[in-house]
Symmetry: C2
Subunit: 230 residues, 2 copies
């Protein structure tokens, strides 16, 4: 591909494999969040030492992480906050808005519908789905609730590529199969079960009980040394 952008050629090697360590991708979101806060606080520029301090990593790591994606630092100056935010958003694909479908209007589903944080980062829940006749056809937080059977049509009409799934565990795999069927590319799964998808579909699982478990572990096995600063 001769027309491949410079950015892409940095992210992939000759075999078409993503060459950015997974850990770096995780930190990218954190950089974005911190730089956005710095802007809100009136900062024009920042630098690897400051960002490293905010994230609890070394300055060398900050520079190396960002350098995977191009050269947007300025020697002697640092990183211009606005520039950095828009560069990271470009990399993450959040410079334009993503339409999201939410499946499962239980307590968590409703909380997600009302959650303001998504919008600020370029995500918009534009459709909700459920199996309960009581809610189908109504609106929740201004979002239409559809029968899950209308999935294909709504996904196509609204150009939806990502879904959030907040259905009971026992229903999760069946819902996943349905969203995969209609061509969804990424799934945010809140059901505490492992789901199977074809290799071209991406899944991120959020298991709230598991997070508490991790916390319990770090508290129980706390020691003198490790410092979780920030």
């Amino acid at each position: 591909m001769e027309t491949m952008s410079e950015q892409k050629s940095r992210l992939f090697n000759e075999r078409g494999e993503l060459v950015v360590p997974k850990a770096v991708v995780g930190r990218l979101s954190l950089y974005l969040r911190e730089v956005q806060h710095l802007i809100r606080d009136g900062n024009e520029t920042t630098n690897s030492t400051e960002l490293g301090y905010l994230l609890g990593v070394t300055d060398a790591q900050v520079r190396k992480d960002l350098a995977y994606f191009g050269q947007f630092g300025h020697p002697g100056i640092g990183y211009r906050c606005q520039e950095l935010v828009s560069a990271i958003k470009n990399i993450m694909g959040t410079n334009s808005t993503w339409n999201i479908a939410l499946i499962g209007i239980g307590n968590l589903g409703r909380a997600l519908l009302r959650y303001k944080g998504f919008h600020d980062q370029g995500f918009r829940i534009v459709a909700a789905f459920d199996v309960d006749d009581q809610v189908i056809g109504t609106q929740v937080e201004g979002v239409d609730v559809y029968d899950i059977h209308d999935l294909a049509r709504v996904v196509s009409d609204q150009s939806i590529r990502l879904v959030a799934i907040s259905v009971p565990s026992h229903a999760a795999q069946s819902v996943v199969d349905q969203v995969v069927e209609v061509g969804i590319e990424g799934i945010l799964n809140f059901a505490p079960v492992t789901i199977s998808v074809p290799s071209q579909v991406r899944v991120i699982g959020v298991d709230l009980a598991m997070e508490l478990e991790q916390l319990a572990f770090t508290v129980v096995n706390r020691d003198s040394k490790s410092e979780y600063k920030k």
Copy 2:
């Protein structure tokens, strides 16, 4: 410490530092979840190959991960599911129930109060806190809602060591300071901001918008190779 248990002596080195890689701790919860499912499906034993398949890691890694904490496999047989579950729960500190306080009764807070998944894994939200006079003194999902000023008393009365914080971002640090003040040991932070705590307090942050960002990245930068199986 002569009386230190064998388990503990495996987890810490001579300098009192935790010697288990962070990544292993993350997988421990996943092992627990999968083995519990295997039990539900009627399995008595499992093995490193099966667990590796379920988690998407190698069999060697499963054995090495579990071996950090002791020898609970049986050569020629594998791992007895019940045994493994209770071993992992012991390690994670979830063999007995943890009392949790929830701070911030907004949409997400209410969803957390109603979430059934915590209880199954040994967590119980026993008290909720807010600043809104309308809800203070009432019950939500059978849980008393207190004024945040009663934090010290309730935390002490109910032996609360962990809190979940679901307040608006701008209020998060102030709430954190208050829970630290009353001796809370671990914080699950749902506010999308970095918070500061003294080094003895543990924090895990869950940022829902960030999870969607990660998902968007993997979808946008998808390539032929990487397979996120399961």
